[in-house]
Amino acid sequence: MFVCTGRLLHVARVLACRAQIKQHLSSISGTNNDDLANAMGKRATWENFYKTQSEQGTKQFDWFVGYEEVVDLVSPYLHKHKKSHNSHVVALDLGCGLSNVALRMCLSSEEPMRIVCADIVMSPLQTMRQQYQSTRGVVRNSESHLLFTMADASQLPFKDRCFDVVLDKGTTDVIIRSSRGGDLARTVVQESLRVLRCGGQLLQFSDEDPDIRLTLLNGVASRSRATVTFKEISTPHGMEYFMYVVQKES
């Protein structure tokens, strides 16, 4: 389903490289770090984070894993959805930030895809929208779109049952660290399940250990007619990540 054109890969690589250099420069100041470490659940932390990224011209920042790992893990689910309803596959990137996963999936997909990129902070959405506008010429399937919207993950502005897949890469990790942590995270999972079509999946990418995350997810799933599974994602650099799958009953 996904074909990476040579030009698209080059564009992505250049953007990533520039982003890394700018990130290193920004590391000299400590304030970003302290907030991330101690106040990760606060909206203000992320507003500052993206303000800094914007000032430094950072165009892409992915937590844990990037497009390469995500696409391999997510494709099988997207395939199944396309086969089952034979129209656009619709996905929600919840808390997209400056991740370019949705952008690259949309541009590379042979089959038509609609992805909504949502975040509670405006700045990264603007950056990603600009990137989309400047690269949409290379989209593989002209019916694929990317949409951008501000949204609060605990109160999604979407109707019930409108997405095949919800992607949550590092978002619940942030929410769980807010002052109402556990409760808010459960609400977010419930909201994701609400906007999923029957047979759809919430795919959470996280560094959180299964012993801890499964407790949270099973708590919600058991009351919402969903089942929870997970996959380990090993990376060449030894960090351990997981993809948690909350499958809504058909």
């Binding site: 590391s27 991330l36 996280s206 250990d209 012993d211 407790t215 650099h237 030894g238």
Partner: protein, 468 residues
Amino acid sequence: MSMFRTVTARLYAPTKPLIPRFSNGLRKYATQSQTDLKEVLAAMIPVKQEEIKSFRSQHGASKIGDIQIDQLYGGMRGMKSMICETSVLDPEEGIRFRGLSIPECQKVLPTAQGGEEPLPEGLFWLLVTGDVPTQEQADWLSRQWADRADLPSHVVTMLDNFPNNLHPMSQFSAAISALNSESNFAKKYAEGVHKSKYWEFAYEDSMDLIAKLPTVAAKIYRNLYREGSSIGAIDPEKDWSANFTSMLGYEEPMFTELMRLYLTIHSDHEGGNVSAHTCHLVGSALSDPYLSFAAAMNGLAGPLHGLANQEVLVWLTKLQQDLGGEVSDEQLRDFIWNTLKGGQVVPGYGHAVLRKTDPRYTCQREFALKHLPDDPMFKLVSQLYKIVPGVLLEQGKAKNPWPNVDAHSGVLLQYYGCKEMQYYTVLFGVSRALGCLASYIWSRALGLPLERPKSMSTEGLKKLVGAQ
């Protein structure tokens, strides 16, 4: 013939009036006035048996999860599959021993006279009974263990005859197995004792084994690193950790305090980890506590389980050499940045389970800040603590960037002169006995059966899901 005993008069603890208790299911019993752990247990066991019987009759058939094929290939990770009463991991607060977190334990558990760190004896009492012990109860355990610490001569001979290149963990495990000549459990089982009495002999063996472990461990240490010098005599007035450090040959009282802390915090970590699970599994076949715990030590010797604190110290030592002494935060940040960007890990970081720093790390850090704030290795560890989480966050590699317990333990040991990194896992093993054997006693008391999960072949699984 037994060795290493000093016989002096035993003191009996006077009975004390009842003091306020924590309210919790298991803490209803009038135990504060009793110092004999066996008697306390004898009263608790029937009540717990009844509780479980009632629970199972109501909910025994309730489903609590699903199993995916990946989990069978994935080491059963996340699969709920066994019982462990002694400790549970709290995602926010870290490990809870019978409901108490480590900071809470540090506040309420008895200490040695003049000391600040909790006595592992107190933790053992807590793990076994679910109650916070009084000073008298912890001291009673100290004297019991001092009393039971002697080794049979054949084990001493065996240890003395091991070659110097035999890994300390191998020596440790072999000696523990060989100690089972002393097993009451094995003897009574062979005599056909009724199974309702198993726990009593499990208790006796566990108390004996815990008492003997420091003696074995110290003998190994002296043989390998102190030219076979004598470990000296057990002092019945000293607590378990104090006798241990004396036998190892350390005089510094702060090292004994460190040992008390170390032996407390490494004692238990739920039931699924390799050492605890192994002891439970092997014990379920009614192998005596010695054989069961020796098996657990074989698991602890595996690089993926017990070697992490050694790996951290090796990396730190190399880092110190590479950096050539104290470096600025900026220089260290650059070094760490490049290490992580280059695809390597910083040992001790990046596999955090909790959403904040593990309390087992924090309490060691607090110990260091109090007693060795200027040690160059500690200052490096402190700097890493300041810098590494930030870099992991900045590179988007982790939202859980905190260090784990192993990132700190070697640093404290080396400060007091215990630099033999290969030996660290033995210390871990001595501590882990407290959790493993507390669970072993209860497994026999509750009559938990032989553990025997169902295995599947790949072909069988394929058939099950209708795959080709």
